[in-house]
Amino acid sequence: MATRAAMPEPAHLARRQRTMALRMTALLGAMYLGFMLLVALAAPLLAVQVAPGISIAILLGAVMIVMSWLLGWFYVAWANRQRDARGGAI
């Protein structure tokens, strides 16, 4: 990662991190809103069982938990890379 030509200045870095944080927030919000609307408005669909005892609702709940963790992990991995790339510049 040391190939970066010029070290970005602080304001630029802060802006990039802010954009990423807001994008991730939008993604998370859309995912959660979708889940809530499905739960509120599509109960019959969520009651369908994909395997004996495993309803779509239960599957979706588990997917929400795993996805929340994955999104958080993805952002942290990105932020760590950013900081590493910048190295000890400041």
């Binding site: 602080p10 991730m24 969520l46 999104l71």
Partner: protein, 512 residues
Amino acid sequence: MQAAGDGAHNPAALFFGLFVVVSLAITWIAARRTRDTADFLVAGGRVGTLQNGLALTGDFLAATGFLGISGLIALIGFSGATYSIGAMVGWPLMTFLLAEPLRRMGRYTIADVLMYRLDAPSVRLLSAIGSLAVLLMFSLMSMVGAGALVRLLLGLSYDASVWLVGGMMLVYVLLGGMIATTWVQTIKCVVMMGSALALAVMVLARFGFSPGALFNAAAARNGVGVLAPNPNAIGLWDFLSAGISSVIGVASLPHVLTRFFTVPDTRTARQSLVIATGLIGLNMLIIFIVGFGGMALVGSAAIRAVERGGNMTIPLLAQQLGGPWFLGFIAAVALATILASFCGLVMTGVATLSHDLWGRLVRGGRAGEREQYLVAKICTVGFCLVGVFLGITFQGQNIAFLSGLASSIAASTNFPALVLAIFWRRFTAAGAVAGMLTGLLACLLLVWMSPFIQMQMLGHAGAPIGLNTPGLIAIPLAFVVSIVVSLLTARASDAARFDAVEQAMAGGVTHG
């Protein structure tokens, strides 16, 4: 449950005694490492990644996460898990928006972060009031829960139970401060998750380790509806309001956000969140199995017969699957959970009282180190006494509306102010004050007008609004008022301070 309450031959008392001995030993060690105010309030900023992850998990997974949600699932199935999924979503939100700026801009409290950006004493005052309101409501809930649980497990009277819990808290926090609190929280987290996992494995073993077979057995007892949401349980808007309040509420709890002041740098803050989010997710999957296990093996009717809210699901299941010793162990874990959570609440309350109110507002930052330290200890005694007083006053009261109110207040005071301070160049102190005040008052007013207070508690025929959780109105309202007032009161100096925030965010300055 009778097996838990017979004097000297009581496994719960034995295990709980063991926890007390271990935690007092930790407190003694921590006391020797607590030398100044920073050690006392934020463990000297020396907490590592793994431990902070465990402590964050512990702070969040209070008794509600252990006893409450499993009980709700055992009584009504999937619908009982919906809001806990919202709480899970709050964690990545905290990761994206708050964790790093908090570490960079704050020293002891959330108000420090706001003051880094908006230099006005009124901002600190309102932030402190909001935090204290939230912390006192949570303290009240854990004290009432602790009193009831200790009475059930050790056979003491309710008042004696509350005094016992308050007294132990005082010893931990007064002597060991944040270092002891963090260790108590860490140990509690490991023991609680371990015992929940053991219980889930015991449940699954009854069904050939097939979750599907478990869910089928639960559906056979309570109807197939428990495997899907119940569309008639709650109105759409109230449902969305409770959902958004739980997501944003989790991301703005003062006693959780305090943990970002106890770590040395932003990398530790970030990494510990990955650990905490993973552990909390895992815990929710475990609790899901345990809750359905309660429904399938103990039965909703039997659970309700012991306690209407379902809070005794885990103890009952433990008794059925593991006998009286396992029940005793689980009961002791539940007690330790309440104790540790109350420690975290006390620490955050003490930081707000001694640093924000006394050190900064009353003494204008001129208080010396010795004075700060002394005041922090006096505040500790005060906060514990208030906790005991609240616990005794509200014994047996219906306080179910408090948890929604507390997280809504956190969500509509802390969250808009912090997010705008971090992300919006034109935010002003007047905007922050107006927004926080609006959020706080809107929550109180909306809860007062809610069907729960008006119809269930006061017995009126109707309520002015249909929402039991105020978040859906209060949070956007606080944002709008903050933004409008900021635009009306714009000053060039606020934008200049925003540049300082950008410098800090890029790694230029780290406060504390």
